[in-house]
């Protein structure tokens, strides 16, 4: 037997893909102990890829013009060659669905299988955020339910009414997430069974809430009920779903659907660096293992390395194609760095990471993958060595100052500040404005007051005005937006109508 190489050809075939999948799966499970959902690997055309793009990567979704807009935009940039398509899309579901593009060469397909079907897949299954906030086994069913429900609403109430409602819900999607409370798991049967029940019940609740006749003149009632809700509510969509006075039951259900889909995406937005880093680290490791076992040849590796290098390329800040920190590059470098710290720690590493230096890298990585999100992951594991390698530096932009200030660079005194600044950059809580439901004037004009708690004096973008109109559409009565600065001073920002 002269060679164990699976194939020298660049052309893929289904038997070859299956062969690669078997080998990669064997290595991933047996050698490195990755724990994955079962895989469903689908081969699609580039046009289908654009389709998948435009429905935010979901295999099935309800219909809305914004997905069409996405489609047109993607299609145009793709046609003009301004942008390549991603090699894969992977869906956090059980079985884990990954899309391969038919245009890819065989080494690319192998890379994608390793990256998506074993890298991302194990991350979805292991990471605490995904475990807590999404129900991988139910998402597809739920989407089927959502699509059908919304199509029915369109038939019954008209496309336009549904479209307007969805527009408004989409505007609040980022504020439709429970950040601290674990959502109840999804289940298609449950949803359907409970939907009518819930609709009737909610409507009765809402009516009760807005009963115009008070039970009797109560002294001090005005003072007692100063503010409602008692605590500010962070989940705007949830609050609207449960309390908006004028929504019909079907409208509440649609608000709920958008909210649940937003919730489903919430972990992804918090684990970009980790998720991509993890997947990239594993495709790199698995491919190299294939090579070490002699299953792939040099040509295959060259092809693979070329794509791999492109993926983890990090342009410097002053290069024309700089577009922020590349999550693949940072994540991959950090994962490799952790392995390095375990296998060949330096004195510096021993000082900074006494717990893991010299440890079992597989266990350390597995622990990191399971228990962190981007923010905490960076705060915990970004090493001085990496900061030096990336030549990181932190800049403070204060609009009261004429110039920007460099607050920390990759040097002894700067490491901690730099690491903190970078971690903060991935903190969704500070990346997105903190807007909460503050008060509803139940006895007066039923107006809804939202409060924006400003952080570092950062104001809301002017699109807030537009968003306010959407809130008004959902709430049905006057909506106010106030802004609270760090000294606690309240200022009215906008009102609708």
């Amino acid at each position: 037997m002269s060679s164990r190489i699976i194939s020298e050809s660049l052309e893929w075939t289904f038997p070859l893909l299956e062969r690669f999948d078997r080998e990669i799966g064997r290595i991933a499970h047996d050698v490195y102990g990755l724990d994955t959902y079962a895989n469903q690997i689908e081969v699609i055309t580039s046009e289908q890829m654009i389709d998948a793009y435009s429905s935010v990567g979901l295999p099935i979704n309800y219909q809305h013009w914004s997905f069409g807009k996405q489609f047109v935009a993607t299609e145009q940039t793709y046609r003009r060659g301004q942008m390549g398509l991603a090699y894969e899309i992977v869906i956090n579901s059980d079985p884990c669905i990954a899309y391969l593009m038919e245009e890819n060469t065989l080494p690319m397909q192998a890379l994608v299988i390793a990256h998506a079907s074993y890298g991302h897949n194990s991350f979805f299954k292991g990471n605490y955020l995904f475990r807590t906030w999404t129900s991988a086994d139910a998402i597809i069913d739920y989407l089927v339910f959502a699509r059908r429900f919304i199509a029915e609403c369109e038939e019954r109430h008209g496309e336009e009414a549904v479209e307007l409602l969805l527009d408004s819900c989409h505007a609040l999607m980022n504020q439709g997430v429970d950040r601290y409370k674990r959502p109840s798991p999804l289940s298609l049967a449950e949803e359907q069974r409970r939907q009518e029940e819930r609709a009737a019940y909610l409507q009765s609740q809402v009516n009760d809430l807005w009963r115009t006749l008070p039970p009797g003149p109560e002294v001090g009632d005005e003072q007692r009920e100063e503010r409602w809700p008692e605590e500010p509510q962070e989940n705007l969509l949830y609050f609207i779903e449960k309390n908006a006075p004028l929504l019909e039951p079907w409208q509440r259900e649609i608000v709920r659907i958008v909210r649940r889909i937003a919730q489903y995406f919430y972990p992804q937005r918090q684990t970009q660096v980790m998720n991509e880093g993890w997947a990239t680290f594993w495709h790199y490791t698995l491919m190299n293992h294939l090579y070490d076992e002699g299953l792939v040849g040099d040509g295959f590796m060259m092809e693979f390395l070329q794509s791999h290098t492109g993926v983890i390329y990090q342009p410097e800040f002053d290069k024309p194609y700089f577009n922020g920190i590349n999550p693949y590059a940072l994540g991959f470098a950090m994962m490799r760095d952790i392995r390095r710290i375990c296998e060949a720690p330096t004195d510096e590493d021993r000082e900074w990471f006494p717990d893991i230096a010299g440890g079992d890298w597989l266990q350390v990585l597995d622990f990191a993958m399971r228990n962190f999100k981007d923010e905490s992951f960076i705060a915990q594991y970004l090493s001085p060595r990496l900061m030096r390698e990336f030549h990181l530096f932190a800049v403070r932009d204060d609009d009261r100052e004429e110039q920007l200030e460099v607050t920390a660079i990759h040097e002894e005194q700067g490491y901690r500040a730099l690491r903190q600044a970078l971690a903060e950059q991935y903190n969704l809580g500070s990346r997105e404005p903190n807007v909460q439901v503050y008060h509803v004037d139940r006895r007066g004009d039923r107006s809804l007051t939202l409060r924006h708690f400003r952080h570092n004096r950062r104001p809301l973008d002017e699109s807030a005005e537009e968003v306010l109109r959407h809130v008004h559409r959902l709430w049905g009565f006057k909506v106010r937006l106030e802004s609270v600065d760090e000294q606690g001073r309240v200022q009215l920002v906008g009102e609708c109508p």
Binding site: D318, I409, A464
Partner: protein, 423 residues
């Protein structure tokens, strides 16, 4: 444990509905920008305007996010010369911009217009969407005078000049093959038998051999006698006459070039004519343009002279109408040509001439016309011509008149003139 699925054969247009919805929603914006383009751009662009940008904010989906301002810390890779505490000039454009450079360049694409490729046809379709040629439908319903010969397959009879040689010979081969087949099969059989006999030592005089030879000869004569071509084989190209709506139009452009019409007004008039021309172009295969300019006397001129030569003098509108009538009588038979006329003027006329104009229009011109549109480009009071034309309008529904103040007015006026008539 992995499951492979080939999805390539599944429908590709999964988001077709979404795209359709997007375009439907987007169309109102597109139409607006097309309308603006027509009003604001120079005339030569109207015909070629193919890329239409929609301001991104019009179709953006609002979200709550941070605006510029306040304090923010941002970490960048690739430091070469900075030390802690260095002060840097705020980069242009990125000043106070959310997320610094990275975000600015990322959002840069999104802030631009959302540019949509429109083919010339689509552009025109949007431009003329609600418009239809007045009376066009009526013209078709009234029965048409022109017919067009259209191929209609093959027939077994027809005139000799329409014989289709290839078809006919193909038929002949088939017929000869079919009719000769039984005889040829028989010949083969007999020849085999003959050969067997001869090989078996039978002599040429043998009765059986002779009989066989005779029969073979008879059959061969029969095969040879099959005619090479028969009248049965002939095929003729067949044509039918299809009624065809008149596809020719002539457009008369009549413009006052007296001293009171300055270049600005001429340009306004030109835009109106161009719109009309483009519009007709979409509906007729062939369009003749006739340019008639007039002051006290009327002249037929070419396009260049029509729009750009300078003339002075008083104004006698009836001269142009008379000339128009002559031209129509000589060159454009109304049963063959759809006749449209557009007249632009500042409204000046000799007072006594206006009544003459009215009479010429009512008696001579309007019966020939599909449509006559009059636009008056004047900021002043209407004069006698306007009132005389109002009388014409009362008598003829396919006469329209409008007043134009500035470039922005042209398109609305045009739409008004050619508003789709309720079916």
């Amino acid at each position: 444990m992995s499951h492979f699925i080939d999805r390539r054969l599944n429908g590709r247009n999964k988001s077709a509905v979404n795209r359709q919805r997007f375009i439907r929603r987007y169309k109102s914006q597109l139409k607006r920008s097309v309308a603006e383009a027509v009003n604001k751009r120079s005339i030569t662009d109207v015909d070629s305007g193919e890329r239409v940008g929609i301001p991104a904010r019009d179709i953006s989906e609002p979200l709550l996010h941070h605006g510029s301002g306040g304090t923010r810390d941002q970490v960048y890779p690739g430091n070469r010369e900075f030390e802690t505490g260095d002060r840097i000039r705020r980069p242009p454009g990125g000043g106070g911009q959310g997320g610094g450079q990275g975000k600015a360049s990322k959002d840069g694409r999104g802030e631009d217009d959302f540019v949509f490729e429109l083919s010339r046809e689509e552009f025109m379709d949007l431009l003329f969407e609600d418009l239809a040629l007045p009376n066009l439908v009526r013209n078709q319903l009234m029965g048409t005078t022109e017919f067009k010969n259209v191929r209609a397959g093959y027939a077994t009879d027809g005139s000799p000049s329409n014989i289709d040689v290839v078809r006919s010979l193909k038929g002949a081969i088939a017929r000869r093959t079919a009719l000769g087949a039984p005889s040829r099969a028989r010949i083969r059989e007999l020849e085999e038998e003959l050969a067997a006999l001869l090989a078996g030592g039978a002599g040429e005089r043998d009765a059986r051999v002779v009989a066989l030879r005779e029969e073979i000869d008879a059959l061969k004569t029969r095969v040879a006698a099959l005619p090479f071509i028969d009248s049965f084989d002939l095929r003729y190209q067949s044509f039918t006459k299809q009624p065809e709506p008149t596809s020719k139009a002539v457009m008369l452009c009549i413009m006052d070039v007296s001293g009171s019409m300055d270049q600005v007004r001429k340009n306004l008039a030109k835009r109106f004519f161009i719109l009309l021309y483009l519009f007709l172009q979409r509906n007729y295969d062939q369009i003749d343009l006739v340019f008639i300019r007039h002051h006290t006397i009327a002249q037929e001129v070419d396009e260049q002279d029509f729009f750009y030569s300078r003339e002075t003098g008083g104004t006698v509108v009836s001269s142009a109408l008379n000339l128009a009538h002559e031209i129509l009588r000589e060159r454009y038979d109304p049963s063959v040509w759809n006749i449209y006329a557009a007249q632009a003027s500042d409204g000046d006329n000799w007072d006594s001439d206006s009544n003459i104009c009215r009479d010429i229009l009512v008696d001579k011109l309007m019966p020939l016309m599909r449509y006559f549109a009059y636009v008056e480009i004047t900021p002043r009071q209407h004069q006698s011509l306007w009132y005389a034309y109002q009388e014409v309008m009362a008598l003829h529904p396919h006469f329209a008149m409008q007043e134009i103040d500035g470039a922005d007015d042209i398109f609305p006026v045009f739409r008004e003139l050619f508003r789709r008539e309720p079916a």
